[in-house]
């Protein structure tokens, strides 16, 4: 059985990352449907792929 989240004490390493999290992006995502969030992820993956392709071209 998987324990409850409350069982986990705060991890100081994770806590150190929290001030740097861009909350504006999270707030924007929460306004979307689940499908829209997955479609955004697909679009971001395609964009990253294009950037990598362009980067490979620069190395030649």
């Amino acid at each position: 059985m998987i324990g409850l989240m409350e069982d986990l004490p705060p991890d100081p390493v994770i806590e150190a990352y929290k001030p740097g999290v861009d909350r504006t992006l999270l707030r924007a995502n929460l306004k979307l449907t689940h499908e829209e969030r997955l479609r955004n992820l697909m679009a971001l993956q395609k964009f990253a792929e294009e950037l990598r392709r362009a980067g490979r071209g620069l190395k030649r």
């Binding site: 999270l26 499908e35 992820l41 697909m42």
Partner: protein
């Protein structure tokens, strides 16, 4: 390589595969803004479900991701049954099919810790946010630290403007 989520979920739903969406794509479902390059699912380890999983994804020619070219690999039920977790590349993009995950176990153990969501015309089972945090913490990968911080903020609703 990007993942074609639409065709991936269509294929699994069409074959009636029992699975749970986990990993970075599940994090996105819960509101994460981070990029992940693959899709991870935990599949039910039954002979019937493994056969369905294999049949659903066969048309897209899954192959071991990162394996040397030419390494023999047969995507069939026997291979999946003898193995457990597979990291694959296919015509649909990169995906991982996992029989068990650290900190979460297999399909049956995870099932009570899932939510049903609607996407691409299907009802999908997705790991819930507290459990996603828990399994990511259990995996202990430094690359996940920032993602976990983000997920914990989402869980606590700590997204105010201040």
């Amino acid at each position: 390589m990007s993942v074609d989520f639409v065709r991936f979920f269509d294929a699994l739903a069409g074959a009636g595969v029992e699975y749970i969406l986990i990993g970075g794509a599940a994090a996105n479902v819960h509101g994460s803004a981070r990029l992940t390059q693959d899709v991870d699912v935990v599949y039910r380890r039954s002979k019937e479900n493994v056969a369905k999983l294999v049949g659903a994804l066969s048309p897209f020619h899954p192959y071991l991701r990162g394996a040397p070219p030419g390494l023999p690999f047969l995507w069939d039920a026997e291979t999946i049954w003898r193995g457990l977790n597979f990291t694959l590349i296919s015509e649909l993009g990169n995906f991982d099919v996992l029989g068990e995950i650290v900190g979460g176990g297999g399909y049956e153990a995870l099932l009570p810790c899932t939510v049903e969501i609607e996407a691409f015309g299907h009802r999908l089972r997705c790991i819930d946010l507290p459990t996603l945090i828990k399994v990511k913490r259990a995996a202990g990968r430094p690359k996940d630290f920032e993602a976990i911080a983000e997920l914990e903020l989402l869980l606590k609703g700590a997204l105010d403007e201040s």
